[in-house]
Amino acid sequence: MNSVLHQTRDLSRNGWAVWGLALIAAWLFSQLTVDLLPWAHKYPRDWIWPIRFEITAFMKWLVNDATFGLFTFKELTRSVSWLLDWPLTAATSLFSTGLMKGQGSDAVQLTPPLAWLAVLGVLAAMGHYARDWKLAALVGGCFLYLAVFGQWDSAMVTLSSIVVAVPIGVAGGLMLGILAYRSPWFEKAIRPVLDLMQTVPIFAYLVPILFLFGFGPVAAMTATIIYAMPPMVRVTVLALRQVADEIVDFGRMVGCTRRQMTWKVLVPAAMPSLMVGVNQVIMLSLNMVIIASMIGAGGLGFDVLSALRRLDIGAGLEAGIAIVVLAIALDRLSQAFASRPPPQHHDQPQGWVRRHPWLSFSILWIALTGIGGLLLEPVQAYPETLELTTASFWGELVKYINITFFDYLEGIKTFFLLNLLIPFKRFLLDIPWAVIAALAGLAGWRLGGWKLALTAFSLSLLIAATGQWEKAMVTVYLCGISVVIASLIGIPIGILAAQNQRAGKVVQVIIDTLQTLPSFVYLMPVVMLFRVGDFAAMIAVVAYALAPAIRYTAHGIRQIDPNLVEAGIAAGCTRWQVLGKIKLPLALPEIMLGINQTIMLALSMLVITALVGTRDLGQEVYIALTKADTGRGIVAGLSVAFIAIIADRLIAAGSGHMRRRLGLAEEGGGK
């Protein structure tokens, strides 16, 4: 241990020297070689690897000509569409349109959809079943809000997509997770795919799916399922591994077959942890269903999107708030299901109705409101005359703010742009690409050895080689500035939350809520105040990526061994000294992981801010999406993923390094 300490100390002393030399060398190289080695400064156009055209051509071939002998690829996607289409139609009929006969404008409604009172009552009953009256009131209140403020129809379209996507995502994730648990070989194969899927920005999924499935609800559904499934796979593998060894031994001792072992022992024993995964699938599905409005999902997401395009702030905010309300209701409800207390014995009451009170109530309530709806219109649909709209209020408010505070807002924006954003962007774009790639490699080598060096360098090279370098640097610059600002705001808040219990509770509630909001929602207030451009994008990214910086800092400080803090106090440290000399250094590895998460979130949000007009990789993906240019979208999406992977691996290695140095974890390792 001691010798290890010595070594690392020597290394870190050498470290500064190495970095100093490297930076000087980089500067000299940039200054001196402009004419000598122009290719190292600007990646030559002729050297660009035309992979994006190859991908596009391949996709075209796939869709038009590929065949698996018995059936063609097109038939395959058609049948997937068909398979997804009918549950989606069923759900939409149930929640929003009613059972229809015929097509288009000749369609006749055979039965009405569920009455609004029915949906509201059943969801409130679920809240009561899962926890208590308070949750029932919250859920009921959220849906009442949707009805009163005229968002019911769109919300029901969104809800139908979720009702279909979540079971498929959960079942698929569970199956893959079980396979991965059983077969280490399969797990090895699937792990990198899961890693990549989590770093590839959301928009990038949409491009190939749009190409394969065409514009429409089914394509949106496919994207939603693919996006929401990976965390369920992870959670499943983790949850099954956590089942106590004794329980597994028990299952084998009573002679379970593999299938019995899985379904009668492992899955039920892991149920509480699995429910956490279900909650994640629900929230991710909601996020994606909103974004997938770009490829044909209707509902609240579509309302936001079209309002954004019209720059109709009032309508957009209204729909945005409705999304927030829906997100909160679904999140609290599914969390309550996940943490439902385990069952208690009770004397089995007689009769089906008394044994299933909630279910009986729901059935009865649906029947009652169904009949009531036929007789009384307001039972079926919330009367339009009683609807309130806040759109004009929001519109006026924004107008007022923009008129009154125009100078301030514009001043802030210009100040930041001139003094921070633009200079930094210029600086980054001026550095030769070869220098940045080499520095990334050097960082990899210092922190994790030659393997990491190779990863960092070759991924950088790939970004340059596919002709994405400039756009990638714009991404790095926006992401970098946003992360720095988010950290500057988030870390102090995290410290405060850890030091002060009351503040901690308030902060917790706020970041919990922030994290349930779909990323789309963040765009609304930003556009409202700062319209479009890099500064608006930066604000949205900071707001979206703030939560992990706060959460990890607070957690890092709270988990410090209290003995160490007491030792510090006993040695006569002041409160600030305890914080600066004991708590922060010890919490640093955890804080770094928080920053890592912040970077990941920032990158995923950055792509969405393409909607407010940035000129980075996100924009590239967005353009690809509007043109259905698969190759372009995939290449740009992968470049974002590469940036994320480089940042993730470097920071994880750095954090592991630091942990080992502090003696916090002997085993260490990258992640």
Partner: protein, 345 residues
């Protein structure tokens, strides 16, 4: 019991953890020593175990934490694959049985009780106890009837509808015991079944266990790290240390003739009178007796009688007098003085 047929045995069983242990074992001719194992970076969890468990016997495996008890028992039930050796159950080598055969054997012939109970949290007591039968595909009515029988046997009648977390530790382990008995196993493994319970409950459960065994007469392999428990329950004890079986014998043999200091350390604080039999401390027969005591009776159980009498008691084995027990001997044993009896092992 000595003459009952062997139910379960193992010969030269090894379990090594680490890289490529099978090759290592072959290279060392199935007899590596501790130094060789450590040099190869392996962990010897079970080293060259040779054990015979006879029908109807309570065979106890004892040792400190980490000595390899659980690993050995898991090798015997083939929950883990031994690195080498053979395990023979009812005259067939378990290690050559196919997956399907193992499932059949475990379903009908083996039962196991776990240290931390391993109850399924989503099932009631009834559901847990009926579970092994459910796995076998027994119809609901039949399996629940059988489950109710064993639940009553372990004294939990009336709690069938409870969930595990609503029960105390002792009650949970009763469920574990009932569950392992539901299939009427021929061999019953118990891995430290009472270690997680507090001492008073532990004692009560040991009594309960003895009561059950007097009715059921199972062949039992029982793990404990508590020598008191071993003496109370065992017919024979195997003592393990760092994977090796140091000594196998009756509790009495371990006390009177410990194989090494490690065994002696275990038995040090045990009251001799509770372990030693009349036969092991008797002196040669005299002629004039106040009464008779059986040769296998523990000194503690007959002490009061022998002390109260003026004359020695005859020690009787199979109807013939093999020696005599005097007041002096009993007192010597009780106060812990060395006794130079004609000890047998």
């Amino acid at each position: 019991m000595k003459d009952s047929p062997v139910k379960l045995s193992c010969r030269g069983v090894w379990k090594l953890f680490g890289p490529d242990p099978k090759r290592f074992l072959a290279r060392h001719n199935h007899a590596p020593d501790n130094a060789a194992i450590a040099d190869a970076g392996l962990i010897g969890a079970v080293c060259d175990a040779n054990i015979e468990v006879r029908e109807g016997e309570i065979f106890i495996i004892m040792g400190l934490s980490g000595s390899g008890k659980s690993t050995l028992v898991r090798c015997l039930s083939r929950l883990i694959e031994p690195t080498g050796g053979e395990v023979i159950f009812d005259n067939r080598d378990l290690l050559t049985a196919s997956e399907a055969e193992m499932i059949e054997i475990r379903r009908h012939k083996m039962g196991m009780v776990f240290q931390h109970f391993a109850l399924l949290p989503h099932l009631t007591v009834l559901g847990n106890v009926a579970f092994p039968l459910e796995v076998q595909g027994v119809a609901r009515a039949a399996r629940e009837a059988r489950a109710l029988e064993v639940i009553e046997l372990v004294g939990l009648k009336g709690r069938e509808g409870y969930y595990p977390r609503e029960l105390s530790g002792g009650q949970q382990q009763r469920v574990g015991i009932a569950r392992s008995l539901a299939v009427e196993p021929e061999i019953w493994f118990l891995d430290e079944p009472f270690s997680a319970l507090d001492p008073l409950i532990r004692r009560e459960m040991q009594d309960e266990f003895l009561r059950l065994q007097s009715v059921l007469k199972k062949t039992i392999v029982f793990i404990t790290h508590d020598f008191d428990e071993a003496i109370r329950l065992a017919d024979r004890v195997a003592i393990m240390k760092d994977g090796w079986t140091i000594q196998i014998g009756t509790p009495e043999a371990l006390v009177t003739a410990p194989a090494d200091d490690y065994v002696a350390e275990f038995t040090k604080d045990i009251p001799r009178a509770k372990v030693l039999s009349a036969a092991s401390v008797m002196e040669p027969p005299g002629g004039d007796y106040a009464g008779e005591v059986p040769a296998e009776a523990r000194v503690a159980d007959v002490a009061a009688r022998v002390e109260a009498a003026d004359k020695p008691h005859a020690v009787v084995s199979d109807g013939t007098i093999v020696g005599q027990l005097t007041r002096q001997i009993v007192i010597d044993v009780l106060v812990g003085r060395e006794v130079g009896g004609g000890g047998q092992t």
